[in-house]
Every structure is written in structure tokens, then in C-alpha cells.
Amino acid sequence: MSRLVLTLREPPAHRIDMGAFTPDRLAGLSAEDVRRIPLWHGRRQVPAGDLFQVEGTDAEQILIQAGSDRLDGIGTGMSGGEILVEGHAGAYLGREMGGGTIRVTGNTGLLTGSAMFGGQVQVEGSCGDFLGAAIPGERRPMRGGFIAVHGNAGDRVGDCLRRGIIVIGGNAGDYCASRMGAGTIAVLGTVGDQVGLGMRRGSVLLTVEPRLPPTFNANGTHYLGFLTLLTRSPGFGAGPFAAFRERGTRARRWLGDLGYGGKGEVLLWS
């Protein structure tokens, strides 16, 4: 069986919800069945075959070719298998994902990995705001799994994050780790203003000195053994993140947000 390949016939005029195309939902379907799946395109519902060329049958591996930043919700709720997006992806990539792997060779939009609780997302380009965060008004942020972004991330990375690991090879925007409840965010590049605002617990690992809110206290420099476990874990060895392994276990530490208990930590790898 060859992997299932969805190729965009032309750049879509409207946003498309790609939630139907996960290894779980397509298991056992033929290419013809997949072509008949109805998709909303603007005000009209059209068969998937009108928008995508569909080839192959093995839904355990799905390739989305000529991706577009209008393809939203890729991998929503998937629990296993693999999705590869050649090109860009839209918003909500990997939403409520519990297992499996998604790799995107381009950029992703808003809220990548929101409500995700397992599996791995790898974005070789950059991603938009609210990476791994809860959708505004929703109480479920990322609660597990691993997200690696080789490029930059927008504002509010890991807003309300509950668990899981986010690593960013480039820079992160403002309010990184805001309202974070637990989990780990590591950024190789710079971070914007107000890192960790409203943070209750969790770890933010940085390599460039941050501009912290005044509600963070300096905590000194420490040897922290868990950094070795973290940097040796799968995912940290790939691409730009291998640089983390050379940083050792000694880090400057700030605790905060003191307005919210102060049990969160911002670490600066020395």
C-alpha cells in the first residue's frame, strides 16, 4: 500500500477545515471514498476530490502537498500515524492531538498545537501566535506532547500551557509563557517582552537574557540535573536543537510570577 497523498489542485479561495484527514478517520477508506468526503469551501460544500487530487490508500501516512496557509485544523484529534505537509499549513494544526506525528516543511498559522495532549508536531518554518495555547475563551491548552519549531514563533507561546514541551529554534514574541500552569518552553533565540506574565508553574529555558516583568525575583545560579534529561530526550537532538545539549546544566534562574504564587521558573543557560 502506498501512502495517501492529497495534492491541492489550486490555491484555495477560502479556508478549508482539514480535520477529516487524519490517519484515524481515513483508516480503511479507498482513494475514492476520500475524494467523496464533503468539505466546506466558503458557503458551499464540495467533495474533497474537487479541491485535492487523492492518490494512495495507506492512511497511516498522509502527505499533503502544496500546502496552503488556508488549510486549517490539519491533524485535529489524531491519535496515531503520520502527516507530512509539504509547504505551509493554516491555523489549529494538531488541535486536540493525542498521538502520532505531524511534520510541516513550511510555516503554520495561529494556535498550532492548541489543546494537544500527546504526539509530536514539527514545524520546519515559523508559526503564528498562541503556539500550544488555549483558544481564547477555552480552558484547554496544550496538555502533553512535544512541539518543535525550527523558525520563529509569534506572541503568547504556551499561553495557559498545562504540560508538554515546546522548543523554538528561532525567536519567540511577546508574552511568551503567559499564564503558564506547567510544562516546558525552550527558546534558542530571543524572546519578546513580559516573559512569563501571570505564570504559576512551569519552566522557560532561554539562551538570551529576557526582559522579565517586575514580578519575577532573581534566584541565583544553579546546577539543574533535569536539564540533561530534557536535552537528551528525543526531539532535542534534531535540527537546531542539538545546540541545547552543549549548554550543560548550569543556569541562572528567576522565579515568578510572584503575583501568582511564584513557583514558575525562567532559566538562562549560561
Binding site: 504540560r163 514541551i165 508553574r201 519552566s203 544553579h222 540535573g225 533535569f226 534529561l229 537528551r232
Partner: protein
Amino acid sequence: MIINGVEIEDTFGEAFGMTATRIVITALTDRWARVAGETMTGFATSVIGCGAEAGIESEIPPDATPDGRPGVSVLLFAVSGEELTKQVERRVGQCVLTCPTTAAFAGLESEKPIPLGKNLRYFGDGYQISKRIGGRRYWRVPVMDGEFLCEELTARTSAVGGGNFLVLGCSQEQVLAACERAVGAIRRLPNVLLPFPGGIARSGSKVGSKYKSLMASTNDAYCPTLRGLVDSRLGPEIESVLEIVINGLGEADVREATRVGIQAACELGAAGGIRRISAGNYGGKLGKFRFHLRELLQ
């Protein structure tokens, strides 16, 4: 059967089912890892009086430990999962948590998890931090030298305890020398533990006693100073007997350790004062495992 002039008695060592776990302890230096390992496995020669049988299995180089520091691997054996759980928490809590610079990790994977740092984390009084990395949960407990890093769970597995053989010889010195060779050879093997002091026991026991309160008492048939008084198993030339007790994670591990140990003990041979290799058993009535000496040496 004779090896190097030493008679291998046609008997078998009898062993029992136990449950065991492995814990990896790391520290800033190999010395402190060893200190922690030795401390937590102190007073752990026999389940009868110590609750657990434990010891250092091997030293682990930094590149093979979870946190990249020098470490030791510790094996703990107990009679039940409940007792093992109690012993692990008590020993890690009192001897590893307290020891400078140490960290503790699971050394086994199985479907039967037991708590390692799961309850010890409360020592952190609410300041402990949980980290889930690579599917495993770790606890960072603030302590005065920094952080005590401890994996939440380790695992237990069914194991074999009480495999043994006896070395009979012409003098204390010669029998001890032969047993030291056997211990040296067995300690190079993985998955096995020699729980007694230096790996050697001198007080082999029999079941029962003339005193009602004692379940076990001295193995009079093998005590050279009782020859002529009791139904002794010792010939006139035997002046000393020592026992090597072997626990292992599997039956094959104990079998291999027994084989390697006996061969090493026989290296000194009859010329070195070693006369006979025997084994302790209860007629096969109590233990689930039997290790026939002649069979495993063939």
C-alpha cells in the same frame, strides 16, 4: 564429577521466587554515587531480618546514566511487592535523598510499577516540581545542596533468590580465598546480587531449631566444630565451609552465576585445599527453583 581435584557433589541448590527492582543512583562523583548505593543497601543481607536483600550490581559510567553523571546500579529483592515498595521508599528516602548531590532513576521497565519519588516528593513541602520528559515523570525536590532529582516510578519484576553453593576445604584461609575468587567472577555478571557480607555467608542455616521461637538455626551438619557430635556431612579433612548465596533477576542469571562461581572457586583446586562443592536445599520441598550442580557444570 571432579573439577581440578574438587569433588562436585550430586546435589542441587534450592531457590525461591522473589520480587526485585533495580535503581540507578547518580551523583557528582563516582565516590558519592557509591556512598549512596552502599548506604541504601546496608543491613540488607537477608529478608528474614532486614526486609530486603540488596546490593550494588555494578558501577555505571557517565555516558550510560540518565543524567550523564557517574552512577551505580542497585538491586533490591523482597518477598512481596508490598514489602519491596516499603523498602524502596524507606531506603531511598533515608539514604539517597539525604546523600549529597545524588539523583535516583528507575533501572527496570515492566508492567508492575512501584513508587520511587512518588511519595518522597512531599519532602518538597509544595515546592517540588514535576517534569514529564520522554513519557517518564520526574520530581525535582528542593534540598539544601540544590535539587534532588528522582524518577516517579521504578518497576518490579519476578526474581529468584537463595540460589547457593557451599565451598568445603581444608582451612579457613583456603576456603575464603576460593570464595573470594568466586565472588569476583560472579560480580562481573549482570542481573545478579550476592547479598551477604562481601558476597559470602558463613552462617548457613537449616529450617527449625530446638528453640520454639526460632524458625532457622545453624546448619549443624556443615559445622566443622560439631563433627562427631551430630550427623555431620563433613569428612575428616574439612575444616571450614563457606556459602555463596545468589539472587538473580531470572533463573538463567542465577544458573549462570552458580556455574561461573563454582568454576572460579575450583581454580585453586585440591592443591589449594578445596575439596568439595555442595549446595543447600530442603529436599526440594520449599523452593520453586532447583540448580543441580553437575547438570549446570556440564
